[in-house]
Amino acid sequence: MSAMQLYTIVGAAIFLLALHGLLMTTDSIRRLIAVNLMGAGTFLIMIALAARISPPDPVLHALVVTGLVVAISATALALRLITSAAIAQHSQDSENKGDGDLSEDVKP
């Protein structure tokens, strides 16, 4: 077994593990982390495949470089969507309760 083969297997394992996490968790932040981990597994496979020849395959490296930047911009947008949705939900809840805010403060 070479390092290339080891990391290809690890990349596939991380992709599958993260897919499992994406399906089994309910928290949106954890789901976003799972999607990011799936991306990381894919990148790891690509870099491992690029290392089959020396010098490493430039096409795969170029794809990973662009992929990294696209991944963070997608993550930033997704996090903004998540927080906006949570804050909108929160303000809607407090509006629906009307003047019940005080009692809510007392309860916990």
Binding site: S2, A3, Q5, L6, Y7, T8, I9, A13, I14, L16, L17, H20, G21, L23, M24, T25, D27, I29, R30, L32, I33, L37, A40, F43, L44, I47, A48, A50, A51, R52, I53, S54, P55, P56, D57, P58, V59, H61, A62, V64, V65, T66, L68, V69, V70, A71, I72, S73, A76, L77, L79, R80, L81, I82, T83, S84, A86, I87, H90, S91
Partner: protein
């Protein structure tokens, strides 16, 4: 099992443990911390696999900037409600399925000879009609205008992809800006900077930020002939800007400033005008004239670095007052 594989096995085990922790750690903050650590281990592995510049970019983007983004979002969100393991039977059975699938992948990879064929250099198995992509890149390097194959692929052979990728960054920033007006300003008004920055953090920021700028500049300058390039350099500069912003050393930038808007857009603008110029006066869309290719690529890279750095730092630490329309 040879001895020289030991570091790789240790790194792989660490990586799998951290991936598990980032998904199923008991609290959300543990999960985030482990995700950041995961990014650093990935960077180490990439450095081992012959991609040091990608490793730097992954450490800056995957671990640093994503970590900042996640922690900021967690501060605004309510606490996690449901526990993750409320269906133990499903959880275990799907985990078993996962193990079986991974084992199948592993046996396929270990028994597939085509993965191991190209072990000894490019020219070992060149045949006339079945040239692989690396061989085609190596053959076309002379006309690309730069000496580093990754840069040649990014900004010459597959320049279309890179142009669209800059537009994706702009699109993401636009999307983030669109979402601000709906946000309750009172809750958003929490300043991004840490109110009372620790002296140690401040000292480290003053020490790290110039080093990061230096590394970014070096990666950009080196990108034409060696490992490096616009994206890696942009990521370094963005990391420096985020560190300075979080410690309060850098004042908040205002979206109304023409300079900032120009900096965000100039990468895509320069790239598009080069593409239009080659379409009208040259041989076609993004087909550079051979004698100009080097200069054009370096010019595009410089402006793209600026745009990438500013866009990434705005995506991570941009405040509503700065970004709202």
């Amino acid at each position: 099992m040879t001895f020289e594989l030991m570091p790789d096995i240790i790194l792989s085990t660490l990586l799998l443990l951290m991936a598990w922790g980032a998904l199923y750690a008991p609290t959300r903050h543990d999960a985030m911390a482990l995700f950041v650590a995961f990014g650093l281990v990935v960077a180490l592995i990439w450095a081992r696999l012959g991609a040091p510049d990608l490793a730097l970019a992954e450490a800056a983007i995957g671990a640093g900037l994503t970590g900042v983004l996640l922690l900021q979002a967690a501060r605004l969100l309510p606490a996690e409600s449901a526990s993750t393991e409320h269906r133990p039977l499903w959880f275990r059975s799907s985990l078993l399925f996962l193990l079986v699938t991974t084992a199948m992948f592993a046996s396929m990879i270990l028994n597939n000879n085509s993965l191991q064929l190209a072990g000894s250099g490019i020219s070992a198995n060149v045949t006339a009609d079945s040239a692989s992509l690396p061989e085609m890149v190596a053959a076309a390097m002379g006309d690309s205008g730069v000496g580093h194959p990754v840069t040649a692929v990014l900004l010459n052979f597959r320049a279309w992809d890179t142009l669209l990728e800059l537009l994706v960054l702009l699109l993401a920033l636009t999307g983030v800006r669109q979402l601000y007006p709906g946000v309750n300003r009172n809750q958003q008004a929490v300043a991004n900077t840490i109110e009372q920055t620790w002296p140690l953090l401040l000292a480290w920021a003053r020490f790290l930020a110039p080093l990061l700028v230096l590394t970014g500049g070096y990666l950009l300058w080196r990108g034409a002939d060696g490992a490096g390039g616009a994206f890696q350099a942009g990521a370094m500069l963005a990391a420096a800007a985020v560190i300075l912003r979080l410690t309060g050393l850098l004042p908040g930038l205002s979206w109304s400033s023409l300079l900032l808007r120009l900096a965000v857009n100039i990468g895509a603008l320069v790239f598009l005008s080069v593409a239009l110029a080659t379409l009208m006066f040259g041989d076609g869309w993004l087909v550079y004239p051979v004698q100009w290719a080097g200069a054009l690529i370096v010019a595009i890279e410089v402006f793209a670095t600026l745009s990438i750095a500013v866009t990434l730092s705005l995506l991570v630490v941009g405040e509503p007052e700065e970004l709202s329309a």
